[in-house]
Amino acid sequence: MTIITRNNYEEFFLDYIEGEIDAQEEAALRVFLIKNPDLKEELDEMMGMDLVCEESPVRNESSSLKEIPFQVNFDDFCVARIEGDLDSYEEKAFEDFVISHPKKEKELKLYRKTKLEADTSILFTNKKSLKKRNKKALFKQFVFTSLATAASIAVLFSVWTSEIENPSSNLELELVSHNTPIKIVTPDSTKVTIPKEIKTVKNISNYKKTEKVKHSSKTKIKGKILNKQINKMDALPLKAQVSPKEPINKIKVKELLANNTIAPIEISQQKLIELTEKKRLIQNVPQNTGLAMLGISWKESKGEEDVRKTPTLLKIASYGVSQIGKLAGKKINLEKKYDPKTDKTRVAFNTYGIGFSAPVK
């Protein structure tokens, strides 16, 4: 049996209250209480307290226990409430507490206001820039674009080459087909009605030399000028410079061949054009080469403005290339620029990732 001392008496007291000690232990406890009368009072208190606890209502006790943390740490409980950190029992107790304290309710409302809401009007607008595309599809598109560009270039050069080989191109025939009225103007002093007979080849059905014309891109102009003075010749599809004050005597023209391409004809004192029967004006006409089609065979006498006036294949090609570029969704340029400083003209081809240029004479 354990000896009762002042260090372990609580255990014996509890066993005594519960009725769990035998007679021998009870006798030892009575001896101990006689020797320690102060502890007897404690035993009496313990026995009395036990009775009081059994009689007190449980509801009041739990209410008083929960009230303490709410009062002391009210802010923490408010945050915990809006963060959802309270369990259901604590939540109900807290709500009851807040209802019974109107001032605390106001504070809880302020805490509720600190809860943020996402502003859905704020959007990341450029989502497309973040998205990725399939690498294989990208590669296919790149290959397709490259092939399309290469094919375009090949087609253009094919057209260009065919123009070189076949001078009687549709382009020139189109020019020939224009039944351009020719107006010959004379000064008032020498105004004489000029009966003229000017017809393009296309309008002469029974022209004897039609076959010859088929092989030539030049427009034949058949006409007679009866007066003896021609001071100015204008409105011909060719660029002719005729001095208005220098008469040309005794010119009898039966047939003229005029080229629709620009051919500077200078009539001066040093050099007069001798127009004879069936003499063709091919002296200054450029050779119909690819470069000529691009309008770059006569750069020595032409500025940039003059070049632009000429409808060349380059313009058509540039337009075609730009249209192909639109279809492919790429920017493709083919252009010719004349640099007066270096006195050089360059034809440049530019597209995405590819660009080259070549000087032309």
Partner: protein, 161 residues
């Protein structure tokens, strides 16, 4: 994660990440840059990121990029040093949203971030801890402190009004 899943992630999360960063740094251009960087990093690691965890990955990346930016700039004003009376002109605040924006600006960077992650995206403490590289208890403490500061700010303004 596949290409399609990456593009879905762009649709689903770019707005949220942008909003989160913009509310933190108040600079639209920089917020866009951070979003762009975050998705670029995601794309570089697209094979290693699980689609189910992509949101957390994006917010983590964006948050860390933003913190680096903030540390470089060192421009933030601490809430504790603010004299509330300066902000007592009620005519500047038309509604609670503006007041909250002002209160949010006066939180410390970390407090603002955790509150935004909590309120905007509904992350729990553990998820926020992973994003911000804090412990769960630290996150909770930051949120509690932030709420108290914001409540004080709002309460002070209301009493002045």
């Amino acid at each position: 994660m596949k290409l399609e899943e990456y593009n879905i992630s762009v649709d689903q999360h770019s707005d949220g990440v942008f909003r989160f960063i913009l509310k933190n740094i108040k600079d639209e251009d920089k917020a866009r840059d951070i979003v762009q960087d975050s998705f670029e990093k995601l794309w570089r690691n697209v094979d290693n990121v699980n689609f189910l965890k992509v949101k957390s990955y994006l917010y983590t990346t964006a948050y860390r990029t933003m913190i680096d930016l903030i540390r470089r700039e060192k421009r933030k004003e601490d809430f504790d040093q603010v004299d509330v009376s300066v902000y007592s002109h009620s005519q500047h605040y038309t509604d609670l949203k503006e007041i909250l924006d002002c209160a949010l600006e006066r939180l410390s960077d970390i407090q603002r971030s955790v509150v935004l992650l909590r309120d905007y995206e509904g992350y729990n403490y553990q998820e926020i801890a992973e994003i911000t590289e804090l412990s769960e208890s630290q996150v909770k403490v930051y949120i509690y402190r932030a709420r108290k500061k914001m409540k004080e700010y709002i309460g002070h303004l209301e009493s002045v009004i």
